[in-house]
Amino acid sequence: MKIIDEIVGKVTVLQPQGLLDFVAADSLKNKVKNCAMNGQFNLVIDMSKVTLVDSSGMGSLVACLRVIKKEGGDIRIYGIKDQVRALFELIRLHHIFEIFDSVSAAIESFQRPGK
């Protein structure tokens, strides 16, 4: 899976593209582990280019969050499409992840006091 990354101040934005499934799950996890190793703990995952997420893909998102939370960081999410959002809500991932309507709001959320 192709994952574009961009550093905006203290925040790293990852943009996975296409199908987030069993195969892509590992790419995303590895990418996030790399970020953690480079000291990038504030991540935004831009889901606007993700067409579909299956159960393994959902698992990988939570695995990524675990990795980053261990380092005291967080993953914020932006741009989930309707079909993906329905699945997020079914398995209550919107209670685990903070989801934003714009990439700038997601990035700015890391500047909020206490975060």
Binding site: F22, A25, K29, D54, S55, S56, M58, G59, S60, V62, A63, R66, V67, E89, L90, I91, R92, H95, I96
Partner: protein, 392 residues
Amino acid sequence: MRILVVDDDKDMRLLIRSTLTGMGYEVLLASDGIEALSVLEREKIQLVISDWLMPKMDGLELCKRIRSSSFPGYVYVIILTAKDSKGELTTAMEAGADDYIAKPFDKNELGVRILAGERILRLEMDLEDRNERLSKALSLLQKDLEAAARIQKDLLPKANINSCGFLFDWIFLPCSFVAGDTFNYMKVDNDHICFFLLDVSGHGVQAAMLSFMLTKTLSSLILSGGFGAGLQSHLLSPVETVLELNRRFQADDEIMQYFTMIYGVMNIRDGRISLVQAGQPSPVYLRKGGEPVLIGSGGFPVGLNPNATFEELNLCLEPGERIILYSDGITDCTNQDGQAFSTERLVDLLQKGEGSSLRSLIERVEKNLREWRGSDEWEDDISLFAIERSIT
């Protein structure tokens, strides 16, 4: 190695034979293409050295025939020719020759060309050997998987069975041999039946292993809770049961395998059901003479979140009413245009089956799903588990 020498010139045949015999090869002779083919059919030959121009069937035609035949191993062909132009050589190669030697030939050159041929033949034999071992391994794996699939199916309840005033029926279509989906029900005491349908993330063997284990754990959890001290019922509530599973099966960070499930307890005397929806699609409650109701709006899956809490949902199954549990393999099942079957289509289909028997409803859903998919290959495991309270 056995070499067949094909030449209409007897002196040439004998000359080549004596050269090759001197090199330690076993040599057979033929005087034209037709004779050569009949030798090839009788004998195991690995390498052919053939003259180009011969009566009856020339070297090129012989090459073509060899390539279109199905001799057991690869036959390496060297064409002997007085022609030495590029165009002629291309023609020979196109006909299927592997190499050529210009006449008059040098003994050493002939030896080297044959050695090159031997190298190719050895590679070819290695490959064939590896292929054979691979296909043996594959067929063993396949047999193992078929056996596992049978065991998994045997663990499911009997289809269309009537028990304690309730009818149970189901659909189960794994997308590979074995599935991460499973379901079952169990009578735990005189008053209660527990039931579940679960869907392990991913599919195939990895998911099936966890689903086997979960079935076993769930059974012992239900039964040990059901008959505590003094045969007093200590049946765990659905929330307690799912919390316990969530405690025991937290996903490992690397593998990140979790599952979604519906777990319910039903009172068989009055049809009251309490259930937990742990990330599983909402069950469809088919009321008598009313609109179908989707029960619940979601919930945490089991194993993803150690602090997950679960909510109990309640309903009462009146005589003649049904509740349908299913995996997202059904609602997400895409047709040739990539369109999903959808919850709406499933609910509509279930509603239309109100007057018919549970069996014919189940058959209709399966038939519709197969037609929708247009193939026997599923992207995800398909399962549906239905309960109907009989009219007494």
